[in-house]
């Protein structure tokens, strides 16, 4: 018996370094990818949702409760994007480390100037978010801002690896800024491009590239497109033609394909987040692919 206990103890000691990895629960793929960029081998990252799922509507599944229970840190968008499921996970997860207010709880939207803060807070305006539009990941400048804050937070939570996070952030931020210069150049010809979007999910992209969002397929945020509203859009697009009807991979293709068939405006799927298209494998290729697809729709050749 004694021998057995000793062996078990020895095994635990040997195993300890494996558990020393920071366990991160990321709500969306973009924050999972960002955490991986900044933490590298120092963290084990679990991503709760995929690019094929609507981050507003996620089931608070038993598997997610089990995962959040063992997390050292939660990295989510915030701004009420996950209001329908994250509070249940946090309340049932029995993990005081990651509750709001703790260093283990990180909200990306808190580090970014939010757009479209509603003037009128009323549900007749659809599923509006009081703090502003939460889909911040479609602007690379926001990724930079969040990355900066996230690197700080990682150093705070895991001071043992602080130097590691500092070096990785330095390397990432340099690469990111170079990439942004490249993207800005690629995006320049898209300025003023008229587009129709499925959901108000592209506000930050529109703001960054100075696109012209003519209309949305959803009559109000979160309310599925109705045939009456789509009929109106057919009339509108005759007067104000657009270059593309944009949707995220998780959104129902039917409305945009219907409108595309009626008006001849191409329906375009943009990755929206990491994993949204086969090309968008990480944060860098996410914007590479977004711009490539937009440029193709706008009729701008590859450089």
């Amino acid at each position: 018996m004694k021998k057995f206990v000793l062996v078990v103890l020895a095994w635990l000691v040997v195993q300890a370094p494996a558990y020393a990895k920071l366990n991160v629960f990321a709500c969306e793929p973009e924050w999972g990818a960002l955490t991986r960029e900044l933490a590298g081998d120092a963290a084990e990252v679990f991503v709760a949702t995929s690019a094929l799922q609507d981050p507003h509507h996620i089931q608070a599944r038993p598997s997610l409760i089990a995962k959040i229970h063992r997390a050292d840190m939660v990295v989510c968008t915030g701004a009420d994007l996950e209001v329908g499921w994250l509070p249940v996970l946090l309340r049932r997860g029995a993990n005081p480390k990651v509750l709001p207010g703790q260093p283990g709880y990180f909200e990306a939207a808190a580090h970014v100037p939010l757009l479209e803060r509603p003037q009128r807070l009323d549900r007749s305006e659809g599923d509006v978010h009081p703090q502003g539009n939460p889909h911040i990941q479609t602007d690379p400048r926001n990724i930079y801002r969040v990355g900066q804050a996230l690197a700080q937070r990682l150093m705070e939570i895991d001071p043992e690896h602080a130097a590691h996070y500092r070096v990785r952030w330095a390397a990432f931020s340099t690469r990111w800024q170079q990439a942004m210069q490249h993207w800005n150049a690629l995006g320049a010809p898209l300025k003023g491009m008229p587009i129709v979007t499925h959901h108000k999910g592209w506000t930050y992209l529109v703001h960054w590239l100075q696109l012209n969002e003519v209309a949305t397929l959803e009559p109000k945020p979160g309310i599925p497109p109705s045939s009456a509203h789509l009929q109106k859009l057919v009339a509108l697009l005759k007067v104000k033609p657009a270059r593309a009807i944009i949707r995220a991979p998780y959104q129902d293709p039917k409305p945009s394909e219907w409108l595309s068939a009626k008006t001849g405006t191409p329906a375009v799927v943009l990755p929206f987040t990491v994993g949204g298209t086969p090309q968008a494998k990480d944060l860098f290729t996410l914007f590479d692919d977004t711009l490539a697809r937009l440029r193709k729709a706008a009729g701008v050749g590859t450089p």
């Binding site: 799922q53 089931q59 038993p62 409760i65 089990a66 309340r91 330095a170």
Partner: protein, 439 residues
């Protein structure tokens, strides 16, 4: 794993032994090489940092130029000023209303072989009726506790305190405690509020064994296992004042429950949860209609839920399968009628499918198996007279948004052995704070 580590240690020892053999020269060379490597990494880091400073400088300069021309940006909400109502709890209200067309008089409703534990148990009233309007206040109390209060305002202008509990947030080792009045964790539907049900009415097993849902005053303790597969084990101690127990025997600790939940995912598209539950309690002079019972009750539940959505994306299509199986033992004496030892069973199974955004269809089947009663109890509510209560239901519902839903439902209800055709039209509307839904 263990072996591997030993191997590593052995290797390390071997190499050090070998190193001792080598000349000082070689060691010096090694050290030099290491130093060089260190210098190189250090320089690379320095360069990266310098580059960053440069780009940041450039960016800052560009930003200050651009700031004048840039579009106005709403500042982050961090700058909110203090408000007196800043700490108000989240408030939500649920409004429901029903139109019912019942072919049999609901006053005559009975479940063959079971007493009705509460006078409200049944198919509801005919015509237009207001359902219970539910008012919920919830907030974190402080860094240790979360509190919730749910009051149901009945159409008869009464207030019923459905739930009023506090829950711990900061217990270690996966433990969570709950105190106050709350719905028991056993079964799948028991802890869910009626407005999130997929049908207008509760399954017959809940009517028969819990007179609706089991809620009582007490304490709950749960333990969440630190495993990738969800495993929750919990227990409760209650006053023992709700059907099937009564009289708050044992100085107000009359009932205990034990339950376990197991759950996980299958691929990207499916998830499941299996639950086991046991409730045991003493009834002391429990009155139902004209029957008075004193004795022991135990109810056991197995519940299973399976949810499917293509790639886990529930917005367009999704399917939910759900079934629960109950069995009980009621052992004791009915006043003036003699002893009983009843073993009864019941189950239901249902499927709800969202076939396009906003629209869902559902079907459900219910069945109860009563037990034979001693001669003295023949002719009472407990006597099923050889009948098997069963019910078949279909429903169609439409949700304009997450907050509103209209539902049409047909039941062929044979609770008493004779068929009652029931048609319901129901609305359920949520106001206020965006509630988060449990699985």
């Amino acid at each position: 794993m263990f072996k591997k580590h030993y191997l590593a240690v052995a290797l390390a020892l071997a190499t050090s032994a070998h190193a001792a053999d080598t000349t000082e020269q070689q060691r010096l060379q090694q050290l030099e090489a290491q130093l060089k490597q260190l210098q190189q990494t250090y320089q690379a880091q320095l360069q990266a940092m310098q580059q960053q400073i440069e780009t940041l400088k450039k960016q800052a300069a560009a930003q200050s130029k651009a700031a004048v021309a840039a579009a106005p940006v709403t500042p982050a909400p961090a700058g909110d000023t203090t408000r007196a109502n800043g700490f108000n709890p989240a408030i939500s209200a649920v409004l429901t209303g029903t139109y019912a067309n019942l072919s049999k008089d609901p006053e005559d409703y009975r479940l063959a072989g079971f007493v009705l534990g509460d006078e409200e148990v049944g198919p509801g009233s005919r015509g237009f009726s207001l359902g219970e309007s539910e008012l919920t206040l919830s907030a974190t109390v402080d860094n240790w506790f979360y509190g919730q209060l749910t009051a149901a305002l009945t159409p008869e202008n009464e207030v019923e305190l459905e739930e009023a509990y506090i829950q711990t947030l900061a217990l270690p080792a996966g433990l969570t405690g709950k105190f106050g009045r709350f719905k028991s964790g056993i079964g799948y539907l028991n802890s869910q509020h009626s407005h999130v049900w997929d049908f207008v009415d509760e399954p017959l097993v809940y009517r028969a064994f819990f007179a609706g849902q089991y809620a009582d005053d007490g304490v709950q303790l749960t333990w969440l296992a630190p495993t990738d597969t969800y495993l929750l084990i919990g227990g409760e101690v209650f006053r023992g004042d709700s059907y099937p127990v009564a009289g708050a025997a044992h100085d107000g600790q009359g009932t205990y429950t034990l339950f376990a939940k197991l759950g996980g995912d299958v691929g990207l598209s499916s998830s499941w949860q299996l639950g086991l539950g046991h409730l045991h309690g003493d009834a002391k002079e429990r009155e139902t209609d004209d029957l008075i019972f004193t004795g022991e009750n135990s109810v056991n539940v197995v519940d299973f839920v399976w949810k499917w959505a293509p790639n886990g994306n529930t917005t367009v299509r999704n399917l939910k399968l759900q079934a629960e199986y109950f069995w009980d033992n009621e052992k004791g004496t009915y006043d003036g009628l003699g002893k009983v030892d009843l073993h009864r069973k019941g189950w239901y199974a249902q499927a709800v499918y969202q076939f396009m955004p906003r629209w869902r269809v559902g079907a459900r089947y219910d069945e109860l198996t009563p037990d034979k009663v001693p001669t003295a109890l023949q002719g009472t509510a407990l006597d099923a007279e050889g009948k098997t209560p069963r019910r078949s239901s279909v429903m169609l519902d439409y949700s304009n948004s997450e907050f509103s839903r209209v539902r049409l439902q047909f039941n062929r209800d044979e609770s008493s052995g004779k068929a009652d055709d029931q048609v319901y039209l129901q609305y359920t509307m949520s106001l206020g704070a965006h509630g988060a839904h449990s699985y």
